[in-house]
Amino acid sequence: MDVQQEVLRVEGLKTHFKTQDGSVKAVDGVDFHVNQSRTLGIVGESGCGKSVTSLSIMRLLPRNGRSLAGRILLEGRDLLKLPEDEMRAIRGDDVSMIFQEPMTSLNPVFTCGEQVAEAIRQHKKVDDQEARKRTVDLFKLVGIPAAERRVKDYPHELSGGMRQRVMIAMALSCDPKLLIADEPTTALDVTIQAQILELLRGIQQQKQMAIILITHDLGVIAEMAQDVIVMYAGKVVERGTVEQIFEKPLHPYTQGLLASIPGRGTKGKRLNVIKGTVPHPFNLPPGCLFAPRCPHAFDRCPTAFPALMDQGDNHTAACFLYGEEFEPGTEAKPQPTEKAS
């Protein structure tokens, strides 16, 4: 884990949304970093802030959303401070993203080849012919059969798996240093998922990319990631290597998630259950956000949000079972004295 290999570092990121009913703290203090040739998995249940984290990095938030605190350092440059035109140059060039539903991210009226060629022309000074040639090469790289012919197809003429390959081709068109893949295989069948994951792994080796892989599927994380963060309700609750997270999970939420996966070992048995549901963004509990569902909750838990505490070997968890530290400013206040300072 050389420091110079670090591609992206996110520190204290907060992204909130303004809505009619109040503010949604979709991402509320998130820290992580990704190194060259490595994959960081972000795992957590629906609504915990995985997509908002990636959209914040790309600076592609919807209008009502804003990153109000923190730094997003791409090789040392803070993306949050860049003017929009510089950010546009970075998007697709240094950092690319692939989304869950390739159909909505491809334009239906242009052929797949035209769209990839256009992406190349936007970032590289090449003529049409060269762009077209590179497009065919990219299609081959991502394993699209009969690439010369497939570039002339419209998105609807391809299967879901092939469309996702086109998206990956587009994302790779400028040799990004960082690829963000937000649920890249969730809409696909398992056999096609296996093809796409294999493809991503191969390309990463070849190009030494850093990858952020977002998924709610712990199996996909275990197979693809070297480093993992677990998110819950907008916060990182645990961070470690994939072995640490799967073999020695510290946070009760991570433990609960891992124990609720069905499969061979659970046949004929009751599955572990995490009681209750994820809290509504307008109705967050005081202190540790997991407390109402946590089997180990004790009197300290509702008093403040626990800080991420290192338990050795950079394996960190935000839980009072492992220490007393809490995030400053998250203390539950008995009376509204918050505007005092």
């Binding site: 790289l141 069948d189 296996a194 390309i203 994380i221 197979e223 799967f246 499969g263 061979r264 599955l271």
Partner: protein, 393 residues
């Protein structure tokens, strides 16, 4: 088709008996809206669901799972074939008898959002079936709705609330309550937990298991998630392009899969164990179109051990291969040898495996005339590439 005994005959009393079931959906076109083609959604499927068991039905998108489930309840009419429920042929029933039988058979849908009428309070959604079955007394109806709400773990006072006020997991409980209020014997659960997060999924799976024991239910459990199916099912059927290709006890299927397609499916499941970086078998290409499925064995365009011309010319029968274990493959007994021959199973190093798989691919493509629409246009070089995710550059 198999001769003599039907799959599953002999042990355990069948509650639902499906024989040579076929469903073709017509595709219309032109100004006259004539049938121009047919989608062969379910094509000659035979199996039993035994009383008291959970029968899991797996397979990839579009292979015909939902269509099979709907045919079993006669929510759609079969093109041919029969479905017997409790010894009576559903496909020949007149509407009166069918209506009566229907209260014994219910369905739970995948999407807990789309399947509940947003304008009705959940008490009415759940009670609707009761009024249809002639429970006219309002008080009696409410009593039964309240009782089933208890069973699925929802509070009685929710009865007047609307679906949008509930979370995904709660809505799926409402869907279960609606299905179970009529006290059915048989429930088709079509992807009942696919839209749920893992922590909620486990709540609903436990609930389904409890209710099954308590109410002595039989489930047809449809899912594309093999881990979920392994957890809950007693027996499993695997579908590919409208055909049942394998069926056996869950344990046997997951330990000793006999059909090459099943092996791929099992190998594709991502395992939540980072140390187990297994040798993965990657199936190349896409599922061919059900409008014009491959001749012979429908899997032959992707099968690494396909032997030609037999596999592209002769449909393999769905036969008993060992006790309680059915498969439709000409070479189910010889898969091991053929796999070795074709380089399908390779040494434990990934890179080597890719190469070996690629060679296997090239070999079979040289030997075959692929029917797959997408792949039929490919030259050998492109086929080789498609099986080589790295492209080799």
């Amino acid at each position: 088709m198999s001769v003599g005994a039907t799959p599953a005959a002999g042990d355990g009393k069948p509650l639902v008996r499906v024989q040579n079931l076929v469903k073709y959906f017509p595709l219309r076109g032109g100004i006259l809206q004539r049938t121009v083609a047919e989608v062969k959604a379910v094509d000659d499927v035979t199996f039993d669901v035994r009383a008291g068991e959970v029968f899991g039905l797996v397979g990839e998108s579009g292979c015909g799972k939902t269509t099979t489930g709907r045919l079993l309840l006669r929510l759609i009419e079969p093109t041919s074939g029969t479905v017997e429920f409790d010894g009576r042929d559903l496909t020949k029933m007149k509407s009166d008898e069918l209506k009566k039988t229907r209260s014994d058979m219910q369905i739970v849908f995948q999407d807990p959002y789309a399947s509940l009428n947003p304008r009705l309070p959940i008490g009415e959604i759940i009670g609707e079936g009761l009024s249809n079955m002639g429970v006219r007394d309002r008080h009696q109806r409410e009593e039964r709705v309240a009782a089933i709400l208890d069973k699925v773990g929802l509070r009685r006072y929710y009865i007047n609330r609307y679906p949008h006020e509930f979370s995904g997991g709660q809505r799926q409980r409402i869907g279960l309550a609606r299905a179970l209020v009529l006290e059915p014997k048989f429930v088709v659960a079509d992807e009942p937990v696919s839209a749920l997060d893992v922590s909620i999924q486990s709540q609903v799976l436990n609930l389904m298991a409890d209710l099954k024991d308590e109410l002595q239910l039989t489930y047809l459990f449809i899912s594309h998630n093999l881990s979920v199916v392994e957890h809950i099912s007693d027996r499993v059927g695997v579908m590919y392009l409208g055909k049942l290709v394998e069926m056996s006890s869950t344990e046997d299927l997951f330990k000793n899969p006999k059909h090459p397609y099943t092996k791929f499916l099992l190998s594709a499941i991502p395992k939540p164990d980072p140390r187990q970086h297994r040798q993965r078998l990657i199936l190349s290409g896409d599922v061919p179109s059900p409008i014009n499925p491959p001749t012979g064995c429908r899997f032959h365009t992707r099968c690494p051990i396909a032997q030609f011309p037999i596999c592209s010319e002769q449909q393999p029968a769905f036969e008993l291969k060992s006790t309680g274990h059915w498969a439709a493959c000409h070479f189910a007994e010889q898969t091991k040898e053929l796999e070795k021959e074709s380089g399908f199973v390779a040494p434990a190093i990934e890179a080597v495996d890719e190469e070996a798989a690629a060679i296997g691919q090239a070999e079979r493509s040289a030997a075959s005339e692929p029917e797959d629409v997408l792949e039929s246009e490919l030259d050998e070089e492109a086929r080789r590439r498609s099986s080589e995710p790295l492209g080799g550059e």
